[in-house]
Every structure is written in structure tokens, then in C-alpha cells.
Amino acid sequence: MITPETVAYLARLARIELNETDLARFVPPLQEILAYVAKLNELDTSQVEPTAHVLPLTNVSRSDDPLPSLSNAAALQSAPCTDEGCFLVPPVIE
């Protein structure tokens, strides 16, 4: 059951800002999505193994051999702010 409080909670988890109007506006579409997916509940899945992946593949891995990394300049090229070879972000207070 989606309420404006659920929307507010989801918005906080996703770090997006919604005003009161938005909170109310998102209730019906989210409710509709849930109702659509809830159709699955009509199936009896008690004898079905949970699916971990949609591809019929297992054990895809690589050997432990290093390859060249990006240069520092290339790594930082899309960052809006950098300093001392690092990405610069607003202060994080722990």
C-alpha cells in the first residue's frame, strides 16, 4: 500500500527532493506498478527455485592478471571538481 509517507521515504533513499504536491502525485502510479507486479502472487511458486540470475550461466571469472589502469588525468576528466589528484566533494562529516 503506497502512501505519501512511502513516497517520501523512497525519495529520501534516492536522494531526490519532492514537494507536498509531488508526494501526493506519485501515489497512484506507484500503486499501479505494485498492483501490476502483484499479479505474480497469483502463481503458486512453492515448488519453484528462486532465480538468482536470468542467464543460464555460472562461474564467469577472470584470472588474477593486472592490466594498465587509467591515467590520473583520464580518471578525473569528468569530475566537476578535483584537487591533489582526487575527486573533490562537499565535506563529509562522520
Partner: protein, 484 residues
């Protein structure tokens, strides 16, 4: 004040020492300039595809088996979603409901009592980057992002700060024996968080749990837990409820402090990572890994006692570091007597390493050289004093052949009886008063003869042999019997 008993659980993160990261081929290396071991995968750039490191998976399975865990035949990676600047993808690849290992255990020893501590789970995940806080901003270095990390969660079965210390030491030693991590707390390759709750002694209901972070050493863990026991006991004694929270340990003041951050309930929304397909482990694969696990430290110590006749204490000291234990075995293989080798390593070598802050791996005196030195003493070529005070320090410093030091410095003992007998006869002739004294029962006068021989030989006569020959010659040529 009523008695409260602590219940402690430890969560340990061990960085694996693979050549590359968990999901990309960037070097997994500490100490490089920031953001130089990064690529689209570990930077979390759109469209990059992670591919797991086979060596990291194998190390995790080995660790699970070594810690007596059940390893299920099927395991997978999940996404743990949260926002933090050191986490470029805004999710950490971790494992949720199907970890590599579950229900293991670890043996600890505290003041002579051995106990098994349960291990709830052990799973594989990727490390986050590193944040450096500067005034008005934070700097992000993603070299560490994507480092393979083993999370090992103990059962809440640790009942004292001392047991917590023993658990960590034991776990670290096992990881070192497996060789899968450097376990260096200063470099952060081994990190620990602790959970602690108190309950009235004898009760079986758990109290409110407090999490402690920022634990930078094993001693720090022990001290932080001791502080929490005192803090929580005095609160409970006055009927004040414990707040469920995360606290930071401050080593400088030896206190824990409540974290300032707003306590937001975590909602990580785990789900299987669609970029990564599941792992399966066949019984044959697990059997092969199990059969090739290294001997445990306890077994090795036991073997040192039974095969080499070492004391339990020496065996424990020598097996406290796998490199040291191998050094000992290599010294024996190079021909040294086990007991003498144990003595030399546990005493002279360890204190020299300690004084110079050298690791056993970087030690210049190698097992064959130590064995040669031990044999020089055992055969009487070199006095034990010269070996300890002159030859060992020289070999330790320069890594040269002890035989060369002995030859160069003219330290070889004279153990030739003909030569020693000659000196003894000369000494008696030069000190006629000694015979008179001895006949009067003044046994101590022998010392004068020993001193005289040592002077004639310039200190090189084999002392034990000199005493023996003096006694023999006094008896045979002068009819004087001295005992002792």
C-alpha cells in the same frame, strides 16, 4: 552494583592480497598516488561490466574451509545500496543471503583455557574508496575501491575483552597461514568492528546492542570493549536504558563517543547483481581445496613439540608467524639441532629483529647461515660468547657467512688437546704456588691456571676443554684430585 555479563560479536574485514581488484584488472596495491589504480569498473562509470577475480573467490572459499565453515554449492553476489562519496556506484557489490561460508568456528585460548567461537558467516565483497577530510571539502581516492574484501562475522559468543583480543589474534594468524592477506592493521588490510551488549549475569536474554567503530588495533578493541562494559554497567545499575547506537572509539582518551550522525535506519535494498552470474562449487573442487589447506598453527606447534622436542612455549612462539615457523624448519633442514635452533631464533634472532624493526622476511641472516653458526658452537670451534656477541651481530647486519667472520676475526676456538695440554703444563710450571694451595684443599686456586691458559691462548682455548684437561693433568702428573 549487580553483575552484568558482556556478550560480544566481532565483524572483521580482511583485504585479500590478490594482484588485481575484485571485479576489474586494476592493481590491488596500497600506497600509490591517488586515483592511479582505477578504471571504468572501479570508478563506477556507466556501462562498465564487473568480472570477478577467480583468485579472490578461491581465497574466500579456502578461508571458509580453514575456518570450518560449510561452503554451499551455490553462491551469488548482491548489490547493497547506499549513498556515500567513497562508493562511486552508489552500491557495494557484496553477498546477502547466500554467502560463501556459514556456521564455522575458531579456537581461542585465554589464560590456559581453550574455547571454540562460532563464525556466523564469511562473505566476499568489494572495498570502498578512501576519503581524506580537508577544510571545507573532502578528497576522494578510489585506488582502494574494488579491493577484494572478506567479511568474517563471529557469533555473539565472545564473553570478555580478553577473548575478543584472542579471537582477533587467532583469526589473523589463520589468515597469515593461508597467505591470503597481509593482515596489516596500520594499512587497513585488517579492520574490525565490535558489537557489545550487557545482560544480568546468568540471564540468557540479550541486552541492547551497541556497535563500536574506529578500532585501529587489537589492543584498541580490547580497551574499547572494557570501557563499554564499565559505561553500560553503570548506566544499567542506575536503571538507565542503553541506547542502540554506533559509537566511535577514541584511542587518545580511551573512551567511546556516540556518533554525531543522524541515526537513520539502514535500508540497503539488497538484490542479486544482474551484472554477475552465480558461482557454483563442485564437491571435487571443494575437496581439492580442503586437501591442500595449510597445516594450522596449533598443529604445527604440536608437531614442533612431538617431532623436535621443543617446549610448548617455544613451539607457540615459533608458530606465531608462519614465516618464522618456516625459518625454524629451514634452519633444521640446513643441519642445525632443533633445540639449539629454537633457542637461537626465539631469543637472539627475535630480539635482534625487534630492535631493528626488521621482518623475518627481510632478515639478512638466512637459515643456512644460522645453522652454520649453531654448528660452529656445537662443534666447539666457536665459543658461545663469541657467537652471541661478535659473530651473530656481524652476520645479522651483513648477511655474510659465519665461517668467514670467524676466520677473518681469528675467533676460532682451539680445541686441539695437544696444544691445550702444552698450555696447561706451562701454566702449572709458571704458577708453582697453585699446587701448594690445591694440596691444602683450596680448590679455587684452579682459576689461576685457567686464567693463565686463557692468557697464553689469547682467549681462544676451548674453555670447557681447558677445565677438563687441567683436572686430568693435575691428577695424572701431580696426584691432585679436584672435583667439580
Amino acid at each position: 552494583m549487580p553483575d552484568f555479563a558482556p556478550v560480544i560479536g566481532l565483524e572483521v574485514h580482511v583485504q585479500l592480497n590478490t594482484a588485481t581488484k575484485m571485479f576489474c584488472a586494476c592493481p590491488n596495491r596500497f600506497g600509490d598516488p591517488p586515483n592511479t589504480n582505477v578504471c571504468p569498473v572501479c570508478l563506477g562509470l556507466p556501462g562498465a561490466l564487473p568480472v570477478p577475480n577467480a583468485a579472490a573467490i578461491e581465497a574466500a572459499v579456502k578461508a571458509a574451509l580453514y575456518l570450518n565453515c560449510s561452503v554451499s554449492s551455490f553462491s551469488k553476489f548482491d548489490r547493497k545500496n547506499y549513498f556515500y562519496p567513497d562508493l562511486p556506484k552508489a552500491y557495494q557489490i557484496s553477498q546477502y543471503d547466500l554467502p560463501i561460508g556459514t556456521r564455522g568456528s575458531l579456537e581461542i585460548e585465554v589464560s590456559g583455557t581453550t574455547r571454540r567461537i562460532g563464525i556466523t558467516r564469511i562473505h566476499l565483497e568489494e572495498d570502498a574508496g578512501k576519503l581524506v577530510h580537508a577544510p571545507g571539502a573532502s578528497l576522494v581516492d578510489l585506488n582502494r575501491a574494488g579491493t577484494p574484501l572478506l567479511e568474517i562475522v563471529s557469533a555473539p559468543e565472545i564473553f570478555s575483552p580478553e577473548e575478543a583480543y584472542a579471537y582477533l589474534s587467532s583469526l589473523r594468524l589463520l589468515m597469515l597461514y593461508l597467505g591470503i592477506s597481509n593482515c596489516n592493521m596500520e594499512e587497513g588490510s585488517l579492520r574490525c568492528d565490535a558489537n557489545i551488549s550487557l545482560r544480568p549475569a546468568g540471564s540468557s536474554t540479550l541486552g541492547t546492542k551497541v556497535e563500536i567503530k574506529n578500532l585501529n588495533s587489537f589492543k584498541g578493541v580490547q580497551k574499547a570493549l572494557a570501557f563499554e562494559i564499565k559505561r553500560q554497567s553503570s548506566l544499567l545499575a542506575t536503571g538507565t536504558p542503553i541506547v542502540q547506537e554506533t559509537r566511535l572509539y577514541d584511542a587518545a582518551t580511551d573512551k567511546t563517543l556516540s556518533m554525531r550522525s543522524k541515526e537513520e535506519a539502514h535500508d540497503y535494498r539488497y538484490f542479486p547483481d544482474p551484472d554477475l552470474v552465480p558461482m557454483t562449487f563442485s564437491p571435487e573442487y571443494l575437496a581439492r581445496l580442503r586437501d591442500n589447506l595449510p597445516e594450522t598453527p596449533q598443529h604445527r606447534a604440536q608437531r614442533f613439540v612431538s617431532a623436535f622436542g621443543l617446549s610448548q612455549y617455544d613451539a607457540t612462539v615459533l608458530t606465531s608467524d608462519p614465516a618464522l615457523a618456516s625459518y625454524f624448519e629451514d634452519t633444521i633442514a640446513a643441519g642445525a639441532s632443533p633445540k639449539l635452533a629454537a633457542n637461537w631464533i626465539a631469543n637472539n634472532l627475535l630480539s635482534a629483529l625487534h630492535q631493528t624493526s626488521t621482518s623475518i622476511g627481510a632478515c639478512k641472516i638466512r637459515p643456512p647461515q644460522l645453522a652454520a653458526l649453531i654448528n660452529l658452537v656445537e662443534t666447539g670451534t666457536l665459543s658461545s660468547t663469541s657467537a652471541k656477541t661478535v659473530v651473530f651481530p656481524a652476520v645479522f647486519e651483513k648477511g655474510i657467512d659465519p665461517n668467514a667472520v670467524v676466520a677473518e676475526m681469528g675467533l676460532a676456538q682451539v680445541s686441539d688437546t695437544t696444544q691445550i695440554d702444552q698450555w696447561v703444563v706451562d701454566a702449572i710450571r709458571a704458577n708453582p704456588d697453585v699446587l701448594d694451595s690445591l694440596r691444602k684443599g683450596k680448590v679455587k686456586a684452579v682459576a689461576k691456571l685457567v686464567g693463565s691458559v686463557m692468557q697464553m691462548s689469547r682467549g681462544k682455548a676451548n674453555a670447557a676443554l681447558v677445565s677438563q684437561r687441567i683436572a686430568a693433568i693435575l691428577k695424572d702428573m701431580h696426584g691432585i684430585e679436584i672435583s667439580g
